[in-house]
Symmetry: C2
Subunit: 568 residues, 2 copies
Amino acid sequence: MKASYVRTLTRHIHVYQSKNLSKEFLNVVQCHDLLQSLGFIKQTQSGLVHWLPLGLRTLNKISNVIKKHIEQNGMAQEVSLSLLSPKLLWESTGRWKNGELFKLKDSKGSDFCLAPTCEEEITTLIGSYISSHKDLPLTVYQIGRKYRDEKRPRGGLLRGREFLMKDAYSFDKSKQEAMETFGRMNETYDLIFKDLRVPFVSAWADSGDIGGDMSKEYHFMHETGEDTVLKCSSCGHVSNVEKCSSYPEETNQHNGDVNVRYALNIERDTLICLYYPHNRTLNWNLVLDALDHDVDSTLVGESNEKVLDLFHAGKNEDDMMFSSVVRIMDCRLNSRSNYPDFPLKQYLKNNFSQLDDVTLVDAEENELCGACEEGKLSGARSIEVGHTFYLGQKYSKPLKAKFTAKDNTEQFCEMGCYGIGVSRLVGAIAQVTRDEMGLRWPRVIAPYEISVCSAKQDNLCEQVEGLLQAWKSETWVNRDDKSNLGRKIATSHSLGIPICVIVGKREWPHVEFEVRAPFMGDSWRGALQEKGESWDWTCESAGSEHVQRHKVHKDHLKDVVGVILTDM
Amino acid sequence: MKASYVRTLTRHIHVYQSKNLSKEFLNVVQCHDLLQSLGFIKQTQSGLVHWLPLGLRTLNKISNVIKKHIEQNGMAQEVSLSLLSPKLLWESTGRWKNGELFKLKDSKGSDFCLAPTCEEEITTLIGSYISSHKDLPLTVYQIGRKYRDEKRPRGGLLRGREFLMKDAYSFDKSKQEAMETFGRMNETYDLIFKDLRVPFVSAWADSGDIGGDMSKEYHFMHETGEDTVLKCSSCGHVSNVEKCSSYPEETNQHNGDVNVRYALNIERDTLICLYYPHNRTLNWNLVLDALDHDVDSTLVGESNEKVLDLFHAGKNEDDMMFSSVVRIMDCRLNSRSNYPDFPLKQYLKNNFSQLDDVTLVDAEENELCGACEEGKLSGARSIEVGHTFYLGQKYSKPLKAKFTAKDNTEQFCEMGCYGIGVSRLVGAIAQVTRDEMGLRWPRVIAPYEISVCSAKQDNLCEQVEGLLQAWKSETWVNRDDKSNLGRKIATSHSLGIPICVIVGKREWPHVEFEVRAPFMGDSWRGALQEKGESWDWTCESAGSEHVQRHKVHKDHLKDVVGVILTDM
């Protein structure tokens, strides 16, 4: 009874699968629909999906890769927070008014939201436990569902209303230690994304809604992505447009109108005049860099008039005579550009300074990279899959996560938070790696590593299963009575299973198999060149650039499969 | 840097822990508070908890035991369903009006609930995929959060508003096959609960709200439980009161008033008169058994008058003369009991029959067991931890989960559903196994299997850690600077870690360790009697019935620990 049950178990994957495996279909269908028709997921409502057995295996494998690195690297302890988070907590950080919160009341009338991220909860939790500086540093993480009532959910798994997320939160004693933790978490992210074996870029980025002034994004480059990053053709530096500095190929070429934007230094005794071409966008991150961050950033949203008023406030005419003025000229301007009037009527030349040759505006394609000043920038569409933030005391202050420092003073924790969209990664990797034959998972996250296809279930098929015993839990035997051998092979390839073993009497005692996954390394070639002859192994193309066909004596099937899988 | 981070990682468990480990505290504190003060969980709101690192390890271990058996036994494929379930689906089965549903609206005004169980979703999902009888049988399961807006959440993890549940759903072609699946799932449950190593009973039970007429409950016996089961002192048969048959020690002893309840057979041509002592409760399950289920159960809720009206309906006086009447007498009654008037004025003696010596009423303690008729029944409080149901077509009909049978007819699936309260198990096992020293986990679900306690972190401590390398991920080294050795040992015992290794110079190269967990087997004694001398092993009591102290030469620490752990 047991054996027969295991059979029906694997057969059942077919229940969920599409009948259409034609290249026409596989080529044109949207990735989300492809995942649905191949039985990975099933959409129930806009932005909501059920995870089916194949999809869940891939999802769990991604979670395990993340978990392994986060724990092995000693970064974090696992927790699992309640998803029902009370209104009061979200009001204390000003996030209750977020329009994308799913809100609900319990039977007593208390208000809750379904947590989209857990800064409020984790800061309260950790704040209630730590007391001394000896309790820090402390980092926790969880992998769990999150909710966001997207107005326009789209792209299937890329922007869902219910999604699986890895979120980690760090608590440190000082800004310096928080930056070290931030750096170490970014190293861990590099390890995670390298292990997923899909090329990625990490970009310094604006931190958006969550806050803090250091953040890094992780992207897969892909033409269907919703984000844009700029990449240098020479040094390879990648960044988000908010953090990208660039130079024109030739400076001082702008002849048209010039915009000016006023700012003050932190002491508010120096007027800063920022000049830039009227057809470009001022980039405050570049302004801050140009002035070594000596800018009163609370005035960034204010009008020029307001800034001038504040500069004049409380000063008489003599004071004004001795006030400093700094003019910052974007390097694209020249002296013939059409400048606006200077705002001060009188000033001493000694108190006046000017900074030229800086870049103040959002980078554009084809300009020179600000990092190396050699390569040209090109923009490319990308899919964001991870984001790390240094948060400072943004949450620890309102939620009172304090500790007693060595000098006996009470201090607020320095925090960071770190997200990876786990379910989003399934959609993103499917999108980036798919081809005309269907999906094409890297081995580490393929739902199964090996499939066994046979015209019929006979003794020979069982023998081959026995030879692959070492991959038992990673082997899927296609027992679909309704399919012929060709269709079984096409199914294996469309599901993105790396190796498809084809059972047949004709070649016996040799076994043929096809390799579907992209090779990530080349060490298999050397190993097989050395051992291949004694293992009775040969390799031929299967007539498609996407698939290689191999043949090996049955006694060495497991050796060759083992060698090949290590490179996938 | 890596090594130092791993240290702080394990040290941090302490952040979450209570300062109070006194026996007075550990003895009297409520189990939920004990789990909180030891850092397993943290309650955020009534019925809602955060899972902290220790608690999450135990929770995950329970999940893994369940997963292993459900998959190894070939029972089910894993899925993971969306928790946001639309109103429409719940209206189609009449469950939207359930007052314990958490309900919410999305930004477009659509109504959803947070799923408390997933019959509606899974039946719709599977119904959309299956078409032929070849697609069946099919069983799926998931382990995930569920929500129930309990009016009075209490008992902490035992009755939460957010809880982790294993829910499985089976789809079969026929009632017979569904019953086989139901039986196989119950066998799997036995394996799961045996593996958890806490004594349990399984009881036939009424199926309550979910429906269907076969169900089985799994209970831990404990005086704090909210349920009651009846157990026979002789044959050990256990059942819920709804399913329990019993006999009085001496029959025909009831002298007082007698109640009567009327019913009809399925054809509605026989009047059934059920007589039983007025001070007892009629049990319809026993009535059904007594009459081989030939009872029109749609009339169970109707008054005696209504039943008589239906019996008379459409019959003239002659018909009535030939109508059958069956009197069923509970075996507790005798002829001197005070019977109500007989409802029919005229009847033929030939059409009249009587059944004596049956039991029709809810069992009571101290009566004889209906299964063996020898032992006495005793009632005991229990905690329900699992429940299996045969559902029939209760959900497949309204949600149209159909298939084409071999004979080409369309048929509805026969379903079953099977729950285990995973987070509830944490609370229940803690409650059942705790003692005056704190928690006392069976090894398979202890947060760590071994702790290492040392007065200070020195070279000796590192050596011992090295000796236990084989249990690396299961070893917790207590690095709490603020604790002395005695407190570290008490902490290990209170956390319920099975083995506490005590590092000290005094006995070196011997190492002492204390065994905390209850022994589940006795094979360790034989193994150590045989090998003990050559391993330089001795065992002494630690002066407490709850803890044994062992001493062994360091070179054999891992051997002895290995032997002992197999019995825990």
